[in-house]
Symmetry: C2
Subunit: 258 residues, 2 copies
């Protein structure tokens, strides 16, 4: 199922998206208390077009991996490292579908990086790869927005990747997906800029969950970013960026000057 | 005042520490709902020795600066950078006073790094240095525990500094402190290993708050680590590390093999 967070003007809540987005018949049915345990339907039901979708989860942490597609590692001037290189984005960087990505005034170049994101379903640590899928709630699209000039200036990537709005996720969490080989595409103003498949991940989803959960405890709602393929590039104000993960959906965000 | 989090066996809560720890007359008086707004006393009052102190806050993020004392930058083989180098520790790394620091099995060298920590009192962004103290709730001691071998192997510092228990903070938040020039000391099994003063910070407290809040929104309870002075070194299982900030108190943690 597709699990979203939404507001119809009152308190934000979780909901299940039913019907077809393409055919315009999609509706959202409210659930409570949350999707990380048993939940029930609240009785609220709205046409999807009449609610505002929010980031589908508010993660305690967003744990990411760098250079996890060989073509992106090459375009950054190196090779994919033998071990995953981990970094964090702060929860304050999370934005929802449709939310503007705000360009910080102190960067000259802000890039999109389309990615498959994993949403963790339960507290876990030291998860063996063969049990990795047991701790996954589902998958969503993410944009690991990066101030490229700050990334190279700082060495550490925290500031470059940590600005407010630099982690759009959404539009919802798809719980029924085999992430082994799905298409991942990023468009800028409708032009295809990244076009890859998750089978090209250097470290695949089970390997990443095993490695990340050996480094630190993962909590329900934590979001793991799996890396971006080749084709990264800059965004300018008033452009629109969209990340599509096959089987999940499309995350679209406008870009705005601050 | 000194604000702590504690449990006497029931629900954890915040409290104010009164009296003298040295003379054994200290007591903790429960407050509710929390210290980030108006609070009242709950009527609970216990001798400090009869409660368990917890990490004084559960931060949404721990935002840190590297190489912010010149002598530490030198011992790491470089110079203090002109701009602060930021990195994040995950909330899962936070531990309380007395909690064991657990050595991960995949590191050969885990170092202490004693630091002054700032606890943010309210949501803020783009704080000018001259108004920085308005967003501070208070100060505590922190240990930016670091798997030194992983730090150099990874390049990015997230894994090396992000393991569970790698961010002890406490024992409480001192709200009445001028952080401009206080002593900062770290001992290992009682032996003095770090001995500096905050006047030697390359980027001082107002400058750090300004820089960090320009990079991302800070939330109430967020913890900012200000950097460690020279003298870092490894800890082994069954040793005890203590970080003292003059005017705040001493944060003591045993070290344990996992």
């Amino acid at each position: 199922v597709r699990i979203a967070r939404f507001t119809d003007g009152s308190e934000p809540g979780f909901g299940v998206v039913e019907g077809s987005v393409e055919e315009g018949t999609a509706e959202i049915a409210g659930i409570a208390p949350h999707p990380f345990g048993p939940f029930s339907f609240t009785g609220v039901r709205r046409p999807l077009g009449e609610v505002r979708l929010l980031a589908p989860v508010l993660p305690s942490k967003v744990l990411c991996v760098g250079k996890n597609y060989a073509d992106h590692a090459r375009e950054m001037g190196g090779e994919a490292p033998a071990r995953p290189v981990l970094f964090l984005k702060p929860s304050t960087s999370v934005a929802g579908p449709g939310d503007p990505i705000t360009l910080p005034p102190d960067s000259e170049r802000v890039d999109y990086e389309g990615e498959l994101a994993i949403v963790i379903g339960r507290l876990c640590r030291d998860v063996p790869p063969e049990r990795a899928f047991e701790v996954v709630l589902g998958y969503t699209c993410a944009n690991d927005v990066t101030a490229r000039d700050q990334q190279s200036a700082d060495g550490q990537w925290t500031r470059a990747k940590g600005h407010d709005t630099f982690c759009p996720i959404g539009p919802w969490i798809e719980t029924d997906l085999d992430p082994a080989d799905v298409a991942l595409r990023t468009t800028l103003d409708g032009e295809l800029r990244q076009n890859s498949r998750t089978k090209l991940l250097v470290h695949d989803v089970p390997a990443l969950i095993a490695y990340m959960s050996a480094a630190m405890t993962l909590l329900p709602g934590d979001v793991l970013l799996t890396g971006t393929p080749g084709g990264v590039g800059p965004m300018r104000a008033d452009q629109t960026v969209a990340v599509t993960v096959e089987g999940v959906g499309t995350l679209t965000n406008p870009v705005r000057a601050r």
